[in-house]
């Protein structure tokens, strides 16, 4: 084996060992002494990697951590990390699969809203780390021909995220904030919600959009855009409200662009 191939093999064996594979495969490259075996030495790195990544997940998902408890979260993270090792160099981009993971993770089935709390916390993270867009240029919209309008698709800003849940996840989240006086036991957990999670300059805001029919309809409007409705579809569904909703969304910076094909 040439030297370049040898180091490549070492790194492949280490990646395998660090993320739940066979530690012996990495340990065979490592010297042992009277203090520690080669396996124990590789194990130090495995512990360190999991410690770093568990800490990162805990920072992204503090309410999930609080709901299941620190010890449980750490143990669960170990399984998650082995199943979904990071493929990104940016911590803020790691952990997007946690909700998916939790949805099939049997030990948390007694906390039915946990998956949606994970979606909520990930949305907060994503929104927080996105740049606020320039407001959409009205003039460019006015230049679109009538024919093009039918198939026009708007794109939502990445500083807005829409979430719908069968549980009162906004209040569950608020109840876990330091400054909150809201108690988990005082929340009607089974109240379904529609939420906007959005960035206002430097902070992430939560807007509850399911208390009135008007709010709910506006949430439906932006959700329709998100799932790909054309301007023609929107006009058909929202009729006379269309202009008001569009104007409001552009003013809020929630529609960032459009395409006409």
């Amino acid at each position: 084996m040439d030297n370049k191939k040898a180091i490549k093999t070492i790194q492949a064996d280490f990646i395998d060992a660090l993320f739940g594979g066979d530690i012996a495969s990495a340990a065979k490259h490592v010297t042992a002494d009277s203090t520690l075996t080669a396996e124990q030495r590789v194990g130090i790195y495995s512990g360190s990697v999991h410690g770093i990544l568990t800490q990162a997940l805990g920072l992204t998902y503090p309410v999930c951590r609080s709901l299941v408890g620190d010890k449980f979260f750490d143990n669960m993270s170990k399984i998650f990390i082995n199943k979904y090792p990071p493929t990104t160099s940016f911590f803020a981009e790691y952990g997007n699969n946690l909700a998916l993971f939790l949805s099939t993770f049997e030990p948390v089935k007694d906390i039915p809203y946990l998956v949606d709390i994970a979606r909520f916390e990930w949305a907060r993270q994503k929104v927080y780390h996105h740049k606020t867009n320039q407001q959409l240029d009205f003039k460019s919209l006015a230049e679109v021909t009538e024919e093009q309008q039918i198939n026009l698709n708007f794109k939502l800003s990445k500083t807005l995220h829409l979430i719908q849940s069968d549980y009162r996840i906004d209040d569950i989240w608020f109840a876990h904030q330091e400054e909150s006086e809201l108690k988990l036991e005082d929340i009607d957990i089974n109240e379904a919600v529609k939420l906007f999670i959005w960035k206002d300059k430097v902070s992430v805001k939560i807007s509850l959009m399911s208390q009135t029919e008007e709010d709910s309809a506006y949430w439906d409007f932006l959700n329709a855009i998100e799932v790909g409705a054309t301007l023609g579809d929107l006009a058909e569904t929202f009729g006379e409200k269309l202009a008001e909703y569009l104007n409001q969304s552009i003013q809020n910076g929630w529609i960032r662009s459009f395409t006409t094909h």
Partner: protein, 290 residues
């Protein structure tokens, strides 16, 4: 953006810029001579942290320190990472950019940890080539840090200090001399820390790092969660004797204490450094060799 920034003179004993201290640093004047920025945390444009850094840089000299280059990896250099790093460099104008002599990612997986390398001639060639690529792309000399380690490879052919000398010389990069890492590795692998320290190419040392480790019984773990220990302070004295007047930085990344406590640690480093430099000066004036 260039003309809105202060001079970027890095001198004396600085500290790492940490999120925990943002508010205090923004609202209270300080005498900290410079700050090391963990560049990986600022590589996403439009974030609140990045805006804070732009503001912070107006009044404070900074350097960059990262873990994401993965200079020892056998996979191609991460072009997206490099692109973002260069953009951040252009925006913030750090005095220099440092990363570690190790690998952090391979085969598409990012460990976010500092994994050591076998010290072989072949790995020297590999690293020198990659450092050269990074230096060409960034348009400046890279500063490379010696890591602490908990294992050694059977295939290793040379000492870590010979490896560092050859890599820094052949790639013409600079060295971030982490004194704590030398001590940790010396204890873990039972070599003499002085042999390592005094083999370092003094003329290439851009910066010294100090931090605290945890004693896990069978090994020392480089956690950056504690004050600098006495044996590391003693090794630091020797390091100052060896490399002279070089900027020093206190790293504290876990169980981060108050800003005042971190500053206290940097003042201790400053006191030791000034004492050693003063003794050297007096020795030289009296005709003694130093």
């Amino acid at each position: 953006m260039s003309n809105q920034y202060s001079q970027n003179t890095i001198h004396g004993c600085g500290i790492g810029l940490r999120l925990d201290h943002f508010d205090e640093l923004a609202n209270k004047p300080n005498n900290i001579p410079w700050f090391e920025v963990l560049s990986d945390n600022y590589l996403i444009e439009g974030t609140v942290q990045r805006d804070y850094l732009y503001e912070f840089r107006k009044d404070n000299p900074v350097t960059f320190h990262g873990v994401g280059l993965s200079i020892g990896s056998t996979e191609p250099l991460n072009q997206e990472y490099l692109k973002r790093l260069k953009k951040l460099k252009d925006d913030v104008q750090p005095a220099w950019i440092s990363d570690h002599l190790c690998w952090t990612s391979a085969h598409g997986v990012v460990t976010h940890d500092l994994i050591p390398l076998p010290y072989t001639q072949s790995v020297v060639e590999h690293i020198v080539d990659r450092i050269s690529q990074v230096q060409d792309y960034l348009g400046e000399q890279l500063v490379i840090e010696n890591v602490s380690s908990y294992l050694q490879f059977k295939s290793t052919e040379m000492s870590e200090w010979d490896f560092i000398n050859e890599v820094t010389h052949r790639s013409d990069c600079r060295l971030l001399l982490d004194v704590n890492n030398i001590y940790v590795s010396a204890q873990n692998h039972k070599f003499n820390a002085d042999d390592y320290l005094f083999s370092m190419p003094a003329e290439r040392v851009a910066e010294i790092h100090l931090a605290g480790y945890e004693d896990r019984g069978t090994h020392l773990l480089d956690t950056h969660s504690r004050p600098v220990t006495q044996p590391v302070w003693e090794l630091f004295e020797k390091a100052v004797q060896h490399v002279g007047d070089v900027p020093v930085l206190i790293e504290w990344d876990n169980d981060i204490p108050s800003l005042d406590r971190v500053i206290e640690e940097s003042l201790t480093a400053q006191k030791i450094q000034q004492q050693v430099l003063s003794n050297n000066l007096h020795g030289a004036l009296n005709g003694n060799s130093v």
